[in-house]
Symmetry: C2
Subunit: 502 residues, 2 copies
Amino acid sequence: MNKTFEELTPWLDKIYALNCALVLFEWDDATEAPEESSELTSKAVEILSSEYYKAIINDDVKKLLEKLSEEKDLDVKERAIVKDLKKQHESMEPIPAEEYQAYQGLIARASSVWTKAKNASDYSLFAPTLEKIIEYQKKFIDYRLKAGKKEMKPYDLLLNDFEEGFTTKELDTFFDTLKKEIVPLMQMVTDKKDKIDKTYNHRHFPVEKQRQFNRMLAEHVGFDFKRGVIKESAHPFTTNLHNKDVRITTHYFEDNLESAIFSTVHESGHALYEFQISDDLTGTPVGTGTSMGMHESQSRLFENNFGRSREFWIPLFQNLKDTYPETLADIDLDTFILGINKSTPSLIRTEADELTYSLHIMVRYEVEKMIFENKVTIDELPEVWNSKYEEYLGVTPENDAEGILQDIHWAGGSFGYFPSYALGNAIAAQIYAHLKNVMPLDEYLTSGNFAPINAYLKEHVHQYGKTKTTNEILMDMMGESFNPQYYIDYLKDKYTALYKDL
Amino acid sequence: MNKTFEELTPWLDKIYALNCALVLFEWDDATEAPEESSELTSKAVEILSSEYYKAIINDDVKKLLEKLSEEKDLDVKERAIVKDLKKQHESMEPIPAEEYQAYQGLIARASSVWTKAKNASDYSLFAPTLEKIIEYQKKFIDYRLKAGKKEMKPYDLLLNDFEEGFTTKELDTFFDTLKKEIVPLMQMVTDKKDKIDKTYNHRHFPVEKQRQFNRMLAEHVGFDFKRGVIKESAHPFTTNLHNKDVRITTHYFEDNLESAIFSTVHESGHALYEFQISDDLTGTPVGTGTSMGMHESQSRLFENNFGRSREFWIPLFQNLKDTYPETLADIDLDTFILGINKSTPSLIRTEADELTYSLHIMVRYEVEKMIFENKVTIDELPEVWNSKYEEYLGVTPENDAEGILQDIHWAGGSFGYFPSYALGNAIAAQIYAHLKNVMPLDEYLTSGNFAPINAYLKEHVHQYGKTKTTNEILMDMMGESFNPQYYIDYLKDKYTALYKDL
């Protein structure tokens, strides 16, 4: 090991240990902590978060990173770690400590302000807080651009934080294509939606039966219970301490069969990425998915490209029927496949189907872009939001709760994050097309044989963690970087075929 | 707040946060972590443990504690915190860092050596490790006695670490009384044991039913599920992050009805102590039970003095029968009460009944005393152990696994810890006698009314955390410090009454 890098090791150990603790607290809070524990436990979590932050941002680490940037004999992993930590330093350092602290305080209070506003469906309660958050964000971007002497649009800096190499240039092209192709496709599909009867999905499905089926389902796609845990929480999520401890949650609704199923498959996709990170990288800052978009591509690949295909359900459907023998007695595979692919434009992103999901993101992307290009005032946001929903999805929110207030992200200061969801969908389709070229994918799905699929994903995507960017992974795997055309083609082909006889 | 004490606050915060994290990791490891996670997670736990240690033992804290020892205007809580941290400093400081580290390394390996030796039932595999641990212990005691200029027997220093104010002087008196009174009582009881038929306890009791009954049982004695969690683990235990997050585990055996019941009541007793620590103290180093002996007194009070009484079962027995209507159809309350109080001298401490339990501890106490008075060699230990079992319990281990190797404590370097178990039993009996004097205890138990009992324990015992010692609590509550006669009287009265008609 490089001598200077060795000096970084105790810091990396501390970062690793504190991260494990923070992950465990988050998991525990969502799955098990008693309801009155949160105030006192939050205090511990805040202290540990600040220790975590101090383990990254401090003068000793800064000096080491400067020295390490000059070193020639770092290996791939070491270089990636230095790059990752430097990126964090560069984004934090230009911001005056008092301002950052004030901002953190604002963010800490913002989610409860947002909750109140959402519950009252009254945007005016949240607007002053949102305005302050945006002001800070703009100031911070300004500090960072000046410090880095970068010529960059403000919003591009945020986008690049979440997805390296993706700026408004790439995303404008991406969303323009979506607008041109998906909006008309969606209209065709929407016209036929009433021909699909999906009432079976809302019959009664006891939680205990769902638990049993979903556990089997996770195992079916490759979730390893020796290294993983599956539990329940209000909002499904995936987290991990390292590659030998990966945890997912799902949520059971007794009047909705699909909900837990696709949550489970979605989170299992995220989990597989973390399970298959190389042993050499796990426990380091680069031992996790390379970006939010790439992570989302893995969950979407499993949830949608695999999970909503006929092939996927061929080996599973009888098992599903056997789990609810009376309830699903009259439902055949064709009905089920149409049901899980029924598309209906709706107001709420988290309930959106495969076809319309990215349009929800497009609305948010355009709104965020306007915010950071100073083309919209805080007061105008609800109207802009609503008119875009009307234009792209053909539906109009009746109130703020189902409109501008529906997502918590902005209350947490997460601007530039939404596009990753849509990128994930598009990357998933690109990888799916590639898999079809390099292996008998449909055969594997039909026989429930996930081993070769997962082995391929490990070899070409998962194992690298953050040592490769999204585009490097795509380029090395298939000789082509990000290309949204695969996504368009996938949706067109799929929905045309599915709906052709309706 | 005192100005100097204020400077200690960031350290206390850090100690609190790291302790919460370590508690959560321990809980997670025992209840949920996937089986292959331990190696990588242990690394994180080791790093956090060392951070925890460094947050207490460091020069800044040392200087602050020195200054604070001179301060006159500290309040009760502040004084207790300073005293507690100073105690930790005084016990650690005299030990050279390299030796301490070597010892820690030895301890880290010792438990797996012990496990192997126990599985092979071969003491010779563990003896060399045990010898080294004892050598270190003796050296460390020597350093500490010299540094503190203390005239004290070596073993007394260890005893005092676990239970302030209790040394061989008090414990010799205690165990001598036990020997004189309990050993003959036990012989009387043992002669009659075959007259009690307890086969019903080993019928089939499905786990799901047990879960339901034990949850109700915990609630019955006052366990608050809004601030607590009950789960399952191999060995039942209680832990807590603070007084609003207290967690217990139990363990269900389908062929043993009692096992989980008394684990649940035992751990609920521990839990109540932690629930009822004052809000002002929780989250500080003195916001927990004052000593291991006092903690054990609360669990034993609930498990034995309350939990094995007829009064306790009057409001519960029908519920128990209803839980297993067919299995327990032929069992009446009298049979059940005799069954849960059947006493049989055995070889294994953790399976011992209320009457013989403290005799198991007496063996360990006498053996430990001999070790630290250099009156026994490592090689002689199994023989000494066996002959004491024969003498006090009338049973002789057939092999090392059920003899000298049965407990893990010594592999962890815990010498002087065992007596707290017996002290707990005796303190429980003393508090039980007091409760009978100050409230209509039997009436409360018979009507399942734990609120006034728990309120009294909160007011006189629990709320103080470590701001009072065991003897201060007893003295303030009942005008008398520790007195083992209550325990003797309790056992005599109880077993005489129970067995008189057999």
